[in-house]
Each structure stands twice: as C-alpha cells, then as structure tokens.
C-alpha cells in the first residue's frame, strides 16, 4: 500500500506521482484530497487528488516543492512508499451538468483543476480552460487539460508564452468580449483565486474556489482549517475544500496561511543543509 508506482517531473519544482491506494481510488471524487505523512517525525499535509484510476487502484498527486514536507516527498522515487496516506477527504465538488464553464488554473493549481475538467467534459459541459504560470516552463498538464477542453488559453506572467498577463486578466478580457459562462472554477495560489473572484463578481458569475489551508487531522477534529465564508466560520476539511469564492474572507485566509512562516524558514534551512531525517 501507498507505494509510488510512477514519477514524472513536470517542472523543476513540480512533481507528479502515481500512488497505489486502492481504498482511496475506489472512493475518490473530483474536489477531494488526501492527508499524508512522509516520515516518523513528519508533519501531516493535505494534497488534492489530481486524478484517480479505480481499476488500477491508483491516485495521482501533484505537488510543488515549497515546504519541508513536499521537499521530502520530492526525494521519494518509484517503489518507495508514503508512510501514511488517508482519504479521500472533504466534500466532492458540486459541478454543473450542462452549460458553459470556465476553468481557471494557476501554477500547481492546474493539477487539482484537472479532475474537475475531466468530469465536466464527461458531462458534456462546454469547457473553456485558462491555464497560467509565471513563465512558460512552469506550465503543467497542458496536454491533459487540452484533451478535455473545448478551448484552451495559455497565459504567462512574463509573456514567454501565450497571453501576457495573469489568468484573471485573460478571463476579464473574455468576459468583456461577451463570453457568458454559467460558472467559473478557479484553483491556484490564493492571490490568483482572489483576483479571479474580483473579476467575476462584477458579472455576477458563480465562482468556485478550492481552499488549501493549514490542516492537521483533515477530518474535522482540530479546526486549524477555519475559513470565514459569508461571515460564518467553516472547516475547509469537512465543509469544503470548495467554496463560493465571492463569499470567502480572503485577507483572513491569507493571514492564516502564513501562521508558521517563521518556523517554515527554520525547517527549510534544515532541508537545504541536508538535515532531513
């Protein structure tokens, strides 16, 4: 169980692994996540399930090596196992059955976006995808998204490919040009999701976002993942992780995401010095 079967390097800092997890694969639905732990001293971190194959009993995880745990995870190779892997957690995404949806993915957020794109495509929804990153070499899963989209736009912050600007700018341009989607799904770094919501708010388009706050148990027990939605406290692990982005208190979410910034610096310092367990 939890054995890594395949590994693919998507960008210098982004990796994709296919993990044997039959119990999780059997139940996983778009929008759900797992909690994993890499070592005996390790932290529990949530990762959204990027894909699953019920027949083969596998799930796919994509992660960016930003923190101590994801860096340790990045060192694992095929045949290695992930010490602890629990899921699928959270509520499945509520996706429309018909109409037009714009899927907006930024950076590593394209990975959790992909299962929603696949499901929307399967349902026959007209899917327009906007995929972006800082520069062209950081665009991930382009081919996979393209295969299930009716239209795909690539954006880069530095203009090295496609539209020169943020994904939210591209969406704004589309809406200004008369596109009228029924819903938008936006997944990526918090500033990107917030900017996308600011664009769609003017047009009154329902916008789903996937929150990825700090979690410990992931089953509702600890309340670390508190997010204020429409003035009410929600637990992202059991009430989410997908929420109506127009109702999310983004400033609070951003602040809470940075609670352990000082400690992270310390941990990363240790990682660079090869001081992992």
């Amino acid at each position: 169980m939890n054995q890594i079967l395949k590994k693919r390097v998507l960008t210098p800092v982004t990796k994709e692994i296919v993990v044997s997890a039959p119990h999780i694969a059997r139940k996983a639905q778009p929008g759900q996540f797992v909690i994993l732990r890499v070592s005996e001293q390790g932290e529990r971190i949530p990762l959204t399930i990027a894909d699953y194959n019920r027949e083969e009993g596998t799930i796919t995880l994509v992660y960016q090596e930003v923190g101590f745990t994801t860096k340790l995870l990045g060192k694992l190779e095929p045949n290695d196992t992930i010490m602890d892997l629990a899921g699928p957690l959270g509520l499945p995404a509520e996706l429309p059955e018909k109409g037009c949806v714009v899927a907006v993915g930024g950076g590593v957020g394209v990975a959790p976006l992909l299962p929603k794109c696949k499901e929307l495509h399967k349902r026959g929804v007209n899917l327009i995808s906007i995929v972006g990153a800082r520069s062209s070499d950081l665009i991930i899963l382009e081919q996979e998204v393209k295969e299930c989209s009716d239209e795909l736009c690539i954006c880069t912050d530095d203009g090295s490919r496609g539209f020169h600007g943020f994904v939210s700018d591209k969406l704004k341009q589309m809406l200004e040009n008369g596109l009228k989607p029924d819903e938008v799904v936006a997944i990526g770094p918090m500033p990107m999701m917030k900017a996308t919501c600011n664009v769609t708010r003017e047009y009154g388009i329902k916008t789903w976002v996937s929150m990825n706050p700090i979690m410990v148990d992931g089953t509702g027990m600890c309340g670390a993942c508190r997010v204020t939605v429409a003035g009410e406290t929600k637990f992202a692990c059991v009430d989410g992780p997908m929420f109506d982005g127009h109702l999310v208190d983004w400033d609070e979410a951003w602040r809470r995401a940075n609670t352990y910034r000082e400690q992270e610096k310390c941990a990363n310092e240790r990682c660079r010095c090869g001081g992992e367990h």
Binding site: H23, I24, K27, I35, R37, S39, Q41, G42, E43, R44, F68, T69, M83, D84, L85, A86, G87, P88, L89, V216, D217, T219, G220, M221, C222, G223, A224, R226, T228, T233, F235, V238, E252, R255, R256, N258, T259, Y260, Q263, E264, C266, A267, R270
Partner: protein, 466 residues
Amino acid sequence: MAARKSRIEMPVQDPTARASNFEQVALGYTEKMALEEASRCLGCKKPLCVQGCPVSVNIPGFIKLIKEQKYQDAINVVKSTNNLPAVCGRVCPQEAQCESKCVLGRRGQPVAIGRLERFVADWELEHGTPEVPEVEPNGKKVAVVGAGPSGLTCAGDLAKLGYDVTIFESLHEPGGVLIYGIPEFRLPKDVVRKEVNYVRNLGVKIETSFIIGRTTTIDELFDDGFHAVFIGSGAGLPMFMHIPGENLNGVYSANEYLTRINLMKAYLFPEHDTPIVSGKKVAVVGAGNVAMDSVRCALRLGADKAMIVYRRGREEMPARAEEIHHAEEEGVEFHLLTNPVRILGDEKGWVKGMECIKMELGEPDKSGRRRPVPIPGSEFVLDVDTVIMSLGTSPNPILVQTTDGLGAHKWGGLKTHEETGRTTKPGVWAGGDAVTGSATVILAMGAGKAAAQDIHEYLESGSTDW
C-alpha cells in the same frame, strides 16, 4: 493493627522543575509504598468499590494479591476486565468512582485504588510477561470504528471471546484521545503504545489512516463480511464561542493545540516537523481536564504567563481536583467568573489581547450549577498573545451523513440504547464521546465493554430482533 487513616502519598516531580519539561508529573508508587497502601484495604466481602468502577475491576481481589506480592497474578485479575490498566491507573477520576465508595473514606481517606492499579500495570510493563489468553476463533468478524478507549476496550473484549476484530483508525497512530489529547506528562505515549500492543496481541487488527465514512462506509463493512460494527469515533469537532477575533492568528482549539503537541510532537520542533506557536502570554478558555492539559502544555512550551479564563467559579470547574491542584502548583493563574467578549488583533492579524467581562453567579441553570451572569460595565482587556478555546466538542457528522438509518440527536450525539449501546441501525453499536459528548476515558471504556457483551449475546443468539 488498625489501618492508617491517610493514604500513602505518591511522589511527584517538583512543580518548578516539571513546569518546563514534558516528563511525567506523578511518579508512581515504589513496591514498598504499594505494599503499605495495599495493607489498608479491608478486603470487604461485599465490595462497594467494584460498583463504582465502570468496567467492574475485582478491586479487593487484585489488592489482596499485591499484599501477597503476587504482582503478575494481581495484574491478570485487573486485565480480566480492564484492557488498559496503566492508562486507567493514571487518568481515571477514581475519587468520583471506585474510591468514592471505599468504606475507609467514611472516617479517613479511601484506599488509593488508582495508584495501586497503576503500580501493578507498570510492574508488568517493566518486569512481567503479559499473558494472552488462548482463545478458539469463532469465525465471526466485528469492525470497530476508532482506536480510542471505547474502541480498544470493545475490540479487546471481543477478541477474548474469539471474534476476528479489526479496528479502523482515522489518524496514523492508534490510541485516540490517549495519543492526541492527553499530554505526555500525564500519560506517557510509551505506556499507551504498550497497552495498544496488548490489545493487538489479543488478536485485534488495527488499520490506521482509514476513515470510516470516507475510505469506506459502514454499509460496505457489512458487505465485506463483518457481522457487527461498533462506533467509538470520539469527540469530534471543536466548539468555538463565535465571538469577534476567533480566527486571528494565535487562536487555537484545544483539540488542535493538544494534537500538535501530543500526536505530532510539536514541542520537539524542529526535530519533529510540526510547528506550534508557543505564546508568552497564553489564555485557555474553559476549566475542564482538557483546559488544564492545554494550560499546562503552554507553560511547558515556555509561556511566562499561562491563564485559565472561566465564566463560572472555582466550585463549578469541571476538571479533576488533582489536575487543578497540579496546575496551580505549576503557577497557572486562574481568572474565574470571567468571560471573553472578543479577541483583539494587531495590524498583522495576530492576537494582542482579549477583552473579557466579569461575571457573577445567579440562579442554578439546568446543569444544576449557578448560572454566570455578566456584570455590566466590568469589561477589561487581558494581555495575551495566544488563546486556546477549550469549550468541548460536538460529534463528527461524517458517519451520520454517510450511514443510512444511523440516528443522531439534534446536538450531534448518536442515539443509543443506554445499557447495550445499540444504535438505531441493526448490527451497529456505539459508545464513548460519539454518544455522550465530551466525557472521561473510563466512561468510554465502560460503554465499549457493555457493547462488546451485547454484541456477543446478539451474535450468539442468532436473533435478528433489534
């Protein structure tokens, strides 16, 4: 020789020293102390103490064997009804249970039953060879949801009766609140691991990182060949006060604070990867055992000031007297008849103070305790940088949401038959905090034990009446 009126005191770590380490506070009896204390037991023919024990330990029986220095036999007597004696000897509120019934208590101090139980349990963990009864498998499978006190007890008892038992635990380590909640200084995790191993040695299988209601459902467990299911899923979701500022950085639920420290070993950061904010001025809101554990952890993480903020008075505090006493000895401040109104943040969104209001006690409320009433105009700001909400929990809704026919009360607790633990769904039993809301380890164990007995009777009878 008349028995001495007072019990033998248990040695404890010096308060000043222990307030800055996570080592055990109460050190346990030596053999000499245990023999002296055991000699106080009158060995009543009709022992009232046993009636006070939720798992009916033969108390005079094991104490008699201590007197005879037959420690292995003594622990075997305890373990014939209690699968977790080293845990119970440390965290049971004996003063409200067995010891409250002891006849010596009428004219002096009752026999220190809990300390003696701990002594024989620890003796076995150090010197003994745990005896595992030989059991003929009966071919029936039972699933247990959650590896906490009620689940481990139910599973252990069923295994002793020949059942093939699997426990499904959502966290990566079994033990439930014994592992994630109760701190090392009160209940060393090594002791918990040894007792969990005893349950494993009885033949119980434990699947960790397996969430019933998500990874698989209760109905699917029956499809997979299980004949009965016991739910001991525990405390659930932490409650908050719903006051302004509760989501500021530096506000924790007690569940999160304790889980980071105990399960994840955040006090050993960065050797362990999980961080924690170790505040210098920490307020814990609430006065139960969980609040005492939290505030004492805050001291050990280096707080200059660790405070309990509680809206009622000293008499109403729900924590064990011993825990309150230990907290006071270690220097915890008690702000009683004080209730938070809002939490104040600095420009970066971190806690910088907590506005509170003074309370006075009015007429008794439905819990029988005098209702705290705010005193108008008495608001003041408490200087704090960390706030821990320890207000209890409400049961986790995942199981009810994903199981057809599993009934729950409005407040979230599962509906069960009081004596047997049968839920509204045939073939499913429940016990512990998932049924009662936040309660004690031993009450959860008692519920697990009662359910195991009823599961056995039900499956033996072959009846389908529910």
